[in-house]
Each structure stands twice: as C-alpha cells, then as structure tokens.
Symmetry: C2
Subunit: 288 residues, 2 copies
C-alpha cells in the first residue's frame, strides 16, 4: 500500500509533487479496489489499457475496471494522442524481493530510460534494477501507457495490505528524484549518452500443478528472495510437498524477477525469466 | 497460505495426520474465501463462532460466513457439547514478525498449555512464543472454539496470498510435534508440572487517523518486525507522513504483537499490547 498511502497524502497536499516547470496530478488508479483492499474488483485494471478495452463499447466486456479504464483514458489520455499527459508514474509494491525496481515497457522508450539512469545515479540508498516488462509482440496494457511516457516503481518485498515505513520513505525519495529529472529536462538540460544494464522479460514460468490445476510445488527456498540474481541450469526452482527439488532446465543463466509474487498466482506466474542486457542510449535534450 | 496449502495437501493424503490413538480430519475453514484468495467474503469467519451467530437463525445476520459457522459447528461441534471434537488446530499466517507463535484463548486451557510446553521443548528450530488472545470479558470467537480444546498456529512474517517454503516446512513440523503430543497424552503419559512465559493480550492499539478516518501515520521503523520485544514508555511507535515520531505513552513496558498485520487495518489494530507473564501449571495425565 505504499503507493496508495502516498497518493492519498498527495491528494490532501500535492505541494511536494510540483516543480517550476510542470503541474502533477495525483490520483488513485482503482478507488473501489483500494476501498476493499484488493487488487481489483472484476478484472485487473493494469492489464486493461489495450485497444480491445479502450476502443470497444461492447457491453459484454463492461465491468467496473473497464469503465475505470475509459475514465482514466478520458482524463489523462486519450492513449497515443497528442492531448495525452506527458508522463505518468505508477506506484506499485510486490511481495517479491524486487528492491527499488524501475519498470519500463521496453528499451525503445528513450525518456524513461534516461530517467532510470538519472535515478540510479542520484538515488544511491539502494540499487535500482531496471525491468523491461513487455514480452515480444505484447501490447502495452498498464495504466501509464495512457500517457506519452511512463515509469512504474515496483518496491518490495512488502505484503499486500500493508505500509512499511522503510519502503514508504524509499518510494517517496525515488519519486522526488524522478520529478527533479523531469524538471531539469523541461529546463533544457543536456543528458549525455550512456550505457546501462536492464533485465528484459523473456518468459513467464508457472508453478508445477496437479492435473486438477492446484499447485503441487512451491518456490524453492534457495530461489525465494533471489530476484535479479543469476539462476543457472540445474539450480533448484521448486520444492514439492514431498520434499523433492525441481531443477531449472533452461540452457542459459537467467535472472528471475517477481519470484513468489502474490498477485501472480492467479496469472500462473511463479517467476519471470529475464535476460540481463546492456543497452546504449543517445543523449537527450528538450528543444526549448 | 501455508495453512491452506497444507490442508489441501492433507485432503489429498491425510496419512501424516494419523497416529495410533486418533483420527484427524483436515478441512478448509472458508472454502469460498480461499477460492477468491481473501480472508473472508462477507464477514470474518474467525470472529463468528459466538453465541450470537451460533444460536440465532435470524435471517438479518445470515451471510456466507454465518452459514459456514453453522456447518462447521454441526460437523465438529456443537460448541460446548459433549459431542464436539476433542481438539482443533487452526493454521494461520501473519504479515507480522510473529515467528512460530502458538495461540491459546487463555491460561485457563490446561491441555493446550501443556501442548505449548511440549512444542517449546521438542520443536527447537525456532522460538515458539505463546500468545493468549482473549481480552477480559471477551467470548471465544475463533473457529477452534467449536472443539473442546484448540490451538492456533500463527506463523510469520508471510504476505497474504503467498506460500514460502521455509514457513511451510516450519508449520508442518510443528503440527507433527503437536500430533505426537496428543498421541502420547492419549496413551496415558504423565506430563509433569511446569512454569512457562506467555504473552497475554491487554489492549488493541489503533493507527493515528485524520478526522475522516484515514490513517495519518504508519508503524515506526523502530517498531516494525519487533513483535514480542519490549516496548518502553517513550519509544517511538508511529511515524507521520511529515516524519514526526509518535511515542508510546504507556506507564509500563509492553510486548507488542501483531505489529502491522494486514488483516487488522480494517479492525483498527496497529498492534496488540501484551503483558509478559509467567504461569504455573499442574501435571496432566489422561485417565485410561
């Protein structure tokens, strides 16, 4: 609940969000879900910002979250239009040991990648791994895809329904740093070219299951909390209820993310395999 | 989800629950809530096993959980009757750092207190603090109050909606130890008198709130994860969004439990003040 708690605070007092060159508007993505302290009421809002849901008025797909998608798109978008907001931050927590993770759709998003580089250089209290979430051929479906550019923060581990003071302070500090970057960008600062490591999602891995669909093994204790650390072929990934180890069968070292994320059990994702890649980016300067 | 995962396993294969002298029946307390991965559908099942709900057929209070209360009471009770099951275990997890906590209604429950003593002596992989949950004048309202005696396990920290292998192994080992005790008791073993420390609930402490009811401060980083450790007058307990510390104003040292438990935000419980007391118990032997 770090993001929910911060957004509610900013709705009372948005002063710390403002800078010389812009006005920022805090809002709650899914107010009804927040009231019930669940991720969503009928369908996952953060998978609904796709053409299918944005463009259809088909009453068969109508649900609270689809209506909310239309509202958010109307206020902050429309998605992919010139009227859309310039930038949107989406503040998340994970039960996984994601640290202070910065999530961008892909390496093709130049402004967000410069922002990640700036955060890594200026927010030095903890490492800030970068996660590129889009799988090949996948459409951007998250709430911040409504704006022209966006960044999601994914801080963990924190249980659902809980605010931990340490993660709250972290999230607030990273947001302050990110807003400073946007202010500097607006003021015409030149951000030089750079190289950076990022973890690119490759494949979602499900839990082992019984024929009836129930989970038959849990994340192996050796893998638990080891997000973004190398996982080699032959390393244990699951442990069955009878104590047997299930080993990673891949050909290459991978860097798992979202290990044992509560919200992903229903999505059949025990963890996400990522590749650790180094990317080069050109300089960035706003034309004033 | 450690308890849910174990119970589902035992429903497939209950063999490890059986001993020479008894038959144990695994069951899921709240199947619909488990399906939706929430604590409850309409009201907290584990606060519903009171005379008010058990004895009334008033349709005004009818809900899924009240119906389930009647079912559980019919199968394993009736509560306070001679037909009731002899013992019921209730397997819980907490987002708080409760360790391997053993929960009994009060120090007046001799058999469960002997069981706690046995577990503390035989399950030595981690400390097993004892928590006596009943406040003065409070009626036992939990699911295991249906049986003649009961014990709840409260293992944490674990996020809601997650199974961690380490806590799963812990819970299973404590259950094996507890079932061994009941088997020995049934066989007529003499359990000698003993003294034991336990934490007795004294008062539920709410979060500081704005006039509109929203939380205005979170658990202080110095208090987070410090369940069952001494909290002295003047120690910080909350931190406001503006960074101010709110100090503990009590007259005496207390030992907080359930610090920052996700399920207790809605119950307006930031933590529970407990007294650490030493109790003496007489010997116990079943008449054969």
């Amino acid at each position: 609940m770090s993001g929910v708690f911060l957004a509610k605070h900013w709705l009372r007092d948005p002063s710390e969000l403002q800078r010389d060159t812009f006005h920022a508007t805090p809002f709650l993505g899914n107010p009804r879900a927040i009231e019930k302290c669940v991720r969503y009421i009928e369908r996952d809002l953060n998978r609904t910002f796709t053409a299918k849901f944005l463009n259809s008025k088909d009453s068969n797909i109508e649900s609270y979250e689809v209506q909310r998608t239309w509202e958010v798109n109307q206020i902050f978008g429309p998605k992919s239009s010139s009227q859309a907001y310039d930038f949107m931050f989406d503040l998340h927590n994970s039960t996984s040991n994601m640290g202070t993770c910065l999530i961008v759709d892909s390496e093709h998003s130049l402004l967000p990648m410069h922002l990640c580089n700036y955060i890594q250089k200026h927010y030095t209290r903890s490492p800030c791994p970068i996660y590129l979430y889009q799988l090949p051929e996948e459409e951007a479906c998250g709430i911040n895809s409504v704006a022209k550019a966006g960044l999601a923060l994914e801080l963990g581990p924190q249980p659902q329904g809980v605010v931990r003071a340490d993660l709250l302070v972290q999230m607030r500090s990273v947001m302050a740093c990110a807003l400073d970057f946007i202010d500097l960008f607006n003021k015409g600062m030149l951000f030089p070219p750079f190289e950076i490591d990022a973890h690119k999602a490759v494949e979602h891995i499900d839990y082992p299951r019984y024929p009836d669909g129930e989970i038959s093994a849990v994340i192996h204790p050796n893998l638990q909390d080891k997000d973004f650390l190398p996982l080699k072929p032959g390393d244990p990934i699951f442990q069955t209820v009878n104590g047997e180890d299930i080993l990673y069968q891949g050909d290459d070292t991978t860097y798992p993310a979202f290990i044992n994320e509560a919200a992903y059990y229903e999505k059949k994702v025990a963890f996400v395999k990522t590749e650790k890649l180094t990317f080069s980016f050109p300089a960035l300067q706003k034309k004033l």
